[in-house]
C-alpha cells in the first residue's frame, strides 16, 4: 500500500492524466488518424486507436495507483515513486511513460514523446 498522502496522490495522478490527455489530443489533431478518439472524464482516460484497440488508463484512488488496460500488453498497475518522480509498476519496474511511449509509437507508426516519465 502506498505511503502517499491523499492530496499528493490526487495532485500527481491528475497531473499525469491531464498532461497525457492534452498531448494525446494534440497528437490526434496533428496526425489525423482514422477513428482516433480520446476522452478524459471522471478520472478515466479512454484512448481509441481504431483497429489498433483501445487503451483505458484510470485513477484508482483507494489503492493510490494508476491502472492501465492495454490492447497490446494487457493490464498493469502503477504506484508513484516519490524519489524517482514517476509511476512504476512493481514487477517489471518499468515506468508508465516508458510503456506508453513504446506502445503508442508502435501503434501510430511514429515516434511520440509523451510528457510522462
Amino acid at each position: 500500500m502506498s505511503s502517499l498522502s491523499d492530496s499528493v496522490y490526487y495532485e500527481k495522478s491528475s497531473e499525469a492524466l491531464e498532461n497525457l490527455t492534452e498531448s494525446l489530443e494534440d497528437i490526434g489533431d496533428q496526425m489525423e488518424i482514422d477513428d482516433y478518439d480520446i476522452e478524459y472524464s471522471s478520472g478515466v482516460l479512454t484512448l481509441k486507436l481504431g483497429a489498433k484497440g483501445t487503451y483505458v488508463i484510470n485513477k484508482q484512488p483507494p489503492n493510490k495507483q494508476i491502472w492501465i488496460s492495454s490492447p497490446v500488453s494487457g493490464p498493469e498497475r502503477y504506484d508513484y515513486d516519490l524519489e524517482r518522480g514517476a509511476w512504476f509498476c512493481r514487477q517489471k519496474d518499468e515506468s508508465l511513460g516508458t510503456l506508453l511511449n513504446r506502445e503508442i509509437s508502435e501503434a501510430l507508426g511514429a515516434e511520440v514523446d509523451l510528457p510522462i516519465k
Binding site: E25, D26, D29, Y40, S41
Partner: protein, 463 residues
Amino acid sequence: MFSRTLRTLGARAAASTSRIATAANLTRTQGLSTTTRLGATAAEAVTNHNKPTGSTDLEKNTMPIYLDAQATTPLDPRVLDAMMPYMTESYGNPHSRTHKYGWETEQAVDKAREQIASLIGAHPKEIIFTSGATEANNTAIKGVARFYKGKKNHIITAQTEHKCVLDSCRVLQEEGFEVTYLPVSKGGRISLDDLKEAMRPTTALVSIMTVNNEIGVVQDIAEIGRMCRERRIFFHTDAAQAAGKIPLDVNAMNIDLMSISGHKLYGPKGVGALYVRRRPRVRLEPIITGGGQERGLRSGTVPSPLVVGLGAAAELAAREFEYDYAHVTKLAQRLIGGIQSRVTHVVRNGDPAHMYPGCVNLSFSFVEGESLLMALKNVALSSGSACTSASLEPSYVLRALGAEDDMAHSSIRFGLGRFTTESEVDYVVDNVEAHVNRLREMSPLWEMFQEGIDLKTIQWSQH
C-alpha cells in the same frame, strides 16, 4: 393522446403548422388541463380577439396577441409530444448505467445531442447541455479565459452584447483580465477594422453575438470567425436568437464556441446547449464541477425531458427552416410596410441590409415607449430588452447605436414567430396607427414640432 386532441381543434393561417398554431393559442387561453374539453366556442374565442376595431376592453379569458418572440417563444406542441414520455414513464436518470430506465433515457439524450449538432453542423460530442444560454455564455467566456489565464489575458466583445456576456467580462476584469468593448455603427454592426486593431497576441477570446436580441441585426460571423482563426484566437458567439432561425455552420464560419437557448427556439425553458469545438480543441475550466458529466465541463444530471425537448425543437427548426424564414419575412414586411405607410416619423433601428426579419425594432418620434405599450393593451410587446426592464434606463443597445435618448425611450420591439398570423399583424398595425396618433395629439413636443420649432433649441428647466 395529446396530439390527437390537437388535430381536432381547427385550422389557422400557417399552413403546415395550422393545427399547432390553434393548439398553442388555445393552450394559452384555456390552460393545458382543459384542452380536451374545448369545442366550437373556444375556436370562436380565438378568432374573436382579432377584431381590428382598436377597442381596448380585454375579454376575460383571452390573452393578448403575442409579439415578444425575442423574450421567449411558445412551446411547439410537437416538442411537448416528444418530451411527454420522459416526464411520465421514462423517468430514469440518463447516467444510471445499470438498468433499462437509465439506458433508454441515455439513448434519448444522445439522440437530442445529434439533433442539435446537425442544426449547427457540429459533431454530437461537441455539444454540452446547460441550463440555458446564460449559463452557456458564462461557461464559455469565464471558462476559456480562466483556462488560458497565465498565457493570454485579453478578451474582445461588443457593447451591444447580452447582459450575461457583459457581466461575465466585468467579472473577468475584476480577476485581472483586460476587456475591449467594441463600439457598433449606427446600423448595429461592429467594424471589422476595429476588431482587427483590437486583436493582440495575448487575446484569448472574441465574443460577438450572431443576432442581437433587441434590434435583430446580424453580425458578419463568417468573417469574424476567419479573422480569429487566422490569429488562433477562440471565437465565441451567442447564437440564442440565431440558432434555428438563420443558417449556421460552425465549420464554415470558424466558430469555436456557440451558445444556444431552448426557449427561443420553441423549446422548453430551463435548457440550453454550448457547442465546444474539438478540432482544434478548445479547453475550458468548468464553472459547475461535480460528478464529471458532460465531459467534465458541466456536472449535474442532464435534465432528460428538457434536453429531449431541445433536440426536438432543433430538428423541427432545421426541417422547417425555409418555411419559417419566409413566414417571418412576409409578416415583417406586412408590419413595417403597414406602419410606415400609415404613421409618420417612424425609424427602424438597425441596419436593414443585415437583419433577422423576425425582430423589428421601431422608434416612434414624439411618443414615449411605455405609454405606447400601455396603450397597446391587447398586444404583448416589449420596449427594449426584457432583461433590462427592471432598470429605468433607456436601452443600452439603442444608446450604443447612437440613438438619442428620446429615440431610445420611444422604441418598441415587435417579435414575430412561427405562430404569428397575418390577421394578428394587421390588428397590431391598426392599433399602432390609432394609438400613436392619439398619443401624439397629446404630446406638446409634437405640437411644437408641427409649428416648426427645432426641438434641440429648447431650454429644459432643471428642477
